[in-house]
């Protein structure tokens, strides 16, 4: 399935990255590191990517590191160890770089292009930020695809039958539901719904809060204020949660969690499956709404669904599976590996894009509506300015003709007028006619908004542009065509054209709202430099280790065969050995390498002499110890 032409790589469910001054993106030891060094270990970065501080206020309290905002209210992650604040994109880029390195060494081929997956309910800014992360990691991001859609691709890839499937994707931090119809090789997404603030981490948090409140009751100490204790609690909670997927109860043991004047304090308790369920009951309830909404949007009933596919590690929780079973009346399909299926699907899509997979096409949708701002209370307005509708004739009257303020900023009473409704198949372009609200109004500012909320300011603003030079006319007379276009790569552009003059203004949303183009460029360069530094550091460590073992082997051989070689040669070896030992202590990587080579040379002389002296002894020296 993996296509070598398309250099595949998928990022599904990335949760953990470390970023401390000594070691970067060391995935294996990240969790251990998190306990020792909570302020400098970053986890669940995906929750912050492409977001403003006010959108993630709740999440920022739940992590062990400090989440701060920059001058533009965007999220930054503070790393006190090196006195730097990182964008979430940079941390994600480190994770990607590590994955790319691993993939490259596994395939023995350089990986340069990628298909990256994101939660389906990610907004445009989060998607672009993810793309930026890919670029910072030195990747050409071919496509950003939705995780549940990717899962369905992997699931339906080898199947021939026509089916309607529901993908239930509960990951570490986000929850997605997608309904798809698979037939004739066409994977058509019918609807997508989700909750970007619900995932396995929330289940852990419930256990943490339970442990901490019990501890406070018994000991009077608030463990949540102690970052290190909090990290240990979180780790224990996650472990308990995972164990409860196969056991009905589990022990939580946290010795020396804190200390008072009386001595050390420990946590030793039992958590049952029933209790865990009770702690998380509201989270389980929150899983229901997106499932119901996605079906409603797809205009289907539960009986129309042929298969329910579970994706994401959190769907291993028995209580979650039960919710799905009860809600859909179907036994969920557990034949796919919930952790891997998303990455496999990304590989299928990469194959499609590269032209290696010919019989499949994916028709995905935009998960959130796109539109622009119009004046609030339209009814009131229309009564005031009767001209705005009186001048319209025929079919245009039937079209939504709305009024537009000239304000630069979004007014609190502006409402959102949808141009591309959610669940529209991509690529797409749609347009609507707008007009002015004031007499003699010559300019209009259009905000490009994304979301489902009634009032404009409650939606995500992706950008704005100004159309001016409208000939002065009574309100409601000018006609402005506003066209929104999303291409196959998800690039959104908006155009406003004044029919009277043909004046045209447009905006193409290329970047996320969190990082400017220049910032991304800077980060790409910085990351390249870091990658070089990292490579040098790794090489230095490898060389040192190699030199250490050479010293050890040489000493051992000298001890064993020392008598068999002439004193002169032996002295030479000993002096070179000493030299190497000195260099290991203080020399550069190159110097160590040189000394190693020098020692190697004299040792070969020694070995050959040794072999001449007696082949039976020489055989003992065996194969050359250095390789």
């Amino acid at each position: 399935m993996a296509s070598s032409a398309a250099q595949i790589h998928a990022l599904g469910g990335i949760g953990i990255a470390t970023y401390s001054s000594s070691s970067k993106s060391n995935l294996n030891s990240a969790k251990r590191q998190a306990v020792v060094n909570p302020e400098n270990t970053f986890s669940s970065v995906k929750r912050f990517i492409g977001s403003r501080m006010d959108e993630v206020a709740e999440e920022s309290k739940q992590v062990s590191y400090r989440v701060v905002k920059d001058e533009n209210e965007n999220v930054k992650l503070d790393c006190p160890a090196i006195g730097k604040q990182f964008a979430a994109e940079e941390i994600s880029a480190q994770v990607l770089r590590k994955l790319v390195d691993d993939a490259s060494s596994f395939l023995d081929e350089k990986v340069t292009r990628a298909v990256i997956t994101v939660p389906a309910y990610f907004n445009d800014s989060q998607r672009r930020a993810t793309k930026d992360a890919g670029r910072i990691a030195g990747l050409d991001v071919l496509r950003i695809i939705n995780e549940p859609t990717a899962a369905s691709l992997a699931y339906g890839f080898e199947r021939k039958s026509n089916e309607t499937i529901l993908v239930f994707d509960l990951g570490g931090g986000t929850f997605d539901v997608s309904v798809l119809e698979v037939s004739e090789g066409v994977f058509q997404v019918l609807s997508t719904c989700g909750d970007t603030h619900l995932g396995g981490d929330d289940f852990d948090k419930r256990v943490v809060d339970w442990l901490a409140s019990n501890f406070k009751k018994d000991e009077g100490i608030d463990l949540l204020k102690d970052k290190q204790a909090l990290q240990r609690l979180t780790e224990a909670a996650e472990k308990a949660k995972i164990e409860l997927s196969s056991l009905t109860q589990t022990n939580i043991s946290l010795p020396f969690i804190t200390a008072t004047a009386d001595g050390p304090k420990h946590i030793e308790t039992t958590l049952t499956r029933t209790k865990f369920r009770e702690l998380c009951s509201d989270l389980l309830d929150r899983c229901k709404t997106p499932v119901e909404n996605s079906l409603r949007d797809a205009r289907l009933k539960f009986k129309d669904i042929d298969e329910v596919i579970l994706v994401g590690g959190s769907t291993r929780i028995p209580a979650v599976q039960e919710v799905v079973r009860k809600l859909t009346g179907k036994e969920p399909n557990v034949t796919v590996n919930p952790d891997e299926v998303v990455a496999l699907g990304a590989a299928v899509q990469a194959g499609v894009l590269a032209g290696d997979v010919s019989h499949i096409v994916l028709l995905d949708v935009t998960p959130l509506s796109l539109g622009t701002n119009t004046v609030g209370d339209v009814r009131k307005r229309c009564r005031e300015c009767t001209t705005s509708t009186r001048n319209l004739r025929g079919s245009e009257r039937a079209e939504v003709l709305q009024v537009q303020r000239r304000n630069e900023t979004l007014r609190t009473d502006s409402v959102m007028s949808k141009i591309i409704p959610r669940n529209t198949t991509l690529p797409t372009s749609k347009s609507k006619v707008f007009t002015t609200v004031d007499d003699g109004q010559t300019r209009v500012r259009f905000h490009v908004l994304q979301g489902e909320r009634e009032f404009a300011r409650d939606n995500k603003c992706l950008g704005s542009f100004l159309l001016d030079g409208i000939p002065p006319a009574p309100r409601g007379v000018p006609k402005i065509d506003v066209k929104f276009d999303i291409d196959a790569n998800g690039i959104l552009s908006a155009t406003a054209t004044d029919r009277a003059t043909g004046n045209k203004q447009e905006i193409t949303i290329t970047g996320s709202t969190t990082l400017s183009k220049d910032e991304v460029e800077k980060m790409v360069k910085e990351a390249e430099r870091f990658a070089k530094d990292d490579k040098q550091k790794r090489e230095a460590i490898d060389t040192k280790n190699q030199a250490d073992s050479v010293v050890y082997q040489t000493e051992k051989q000298l001890k064993e065969f020392g008598e068999k070689i002439p004193g002169e040669v032996k002295e030479k070896i000993e002096s070179k050995l000493q030299e190497l030992e000195d260099k290991i202590g203080s020399g550069s990587t190159q110097e160590i390498k040189d000394s190693m080579a020098a020692l190697n040379q004299v040792m070969q002389i020694g070995q050959s002499m040794c072999n001449q002296a007696g082949p039976e002894a020489g055989a003992g020296a065996g194969p050359s110890p250095w390789r």
């Binding site: 037939s183 079919s395 198949t425 196959a488």
Partner: protein, 146 residues
């Protein structure tokens, strides 16, 4: 075929069709022939506004089914077009525009309420007036109102 592609991007569908027919006669087994010919078909039918006094095009024609076709037949044909025209599968210029036209037609015809409203309108206008000659100047699809 390159010329056909270029004519397509210049919104000259009739010209494009002429060159395509030539290509078809010369190299009947050329790769991508069906893709380009489908694109041309979609553009021509979509630009031919015969419904509602020249405001709407024949959505059944765009998808290429009989107006009396059932949901299954319609769906099958739409999927066939999606495989041919989606820009992930069709690398010719103009594929995206053609796909958007098909997808717009599908979004009306796959929705029961919208389809019956469209059928109503279609009945009225085809009953009242004769369809204009197909050789009328083709407007670029971007300016069409759906």
């Amino acid at each position: 075929m390159d010329i056909a592609e270029k004519k397509l991007s210049e919104n000259d569908y009739v010209g494009a069709k002429k060159f395509l027919t030539k290509t078809q006669n010369l190299y009947p087994h050329l790769d991508g022939l069906s893709q380009v010919s489908m694109m041309i078909h979609v553009y021509i039918t979509a630009a031919n506004k015969i419904i509602n006094g020249g405001k709407e095009s024949d959505l059944y024609g765009v998808i290429g089914v009989d107006p009396l076709a059932d949901d299954e037949a319609l769906k099958k044909q739409y999927k066939k077009l999606a495989l041919l025209l989606h820009p992930d599968k069709n690398k010719f210029r103009g594929a995206e525009g053609a796909f958007k036209l098909v997808s717009n037609a599908w979004s009306v015809l796959s929705n029961k309420t919208k389809r019956s409203a469209y059928d109503q309108m279609r009945k009225l206008s085809t009953g009242m007036q004769k369809p204009p000659a197909p050789s009328q100047p083709n407007k670029p699809p971007g300016s069409s109102k759906w």
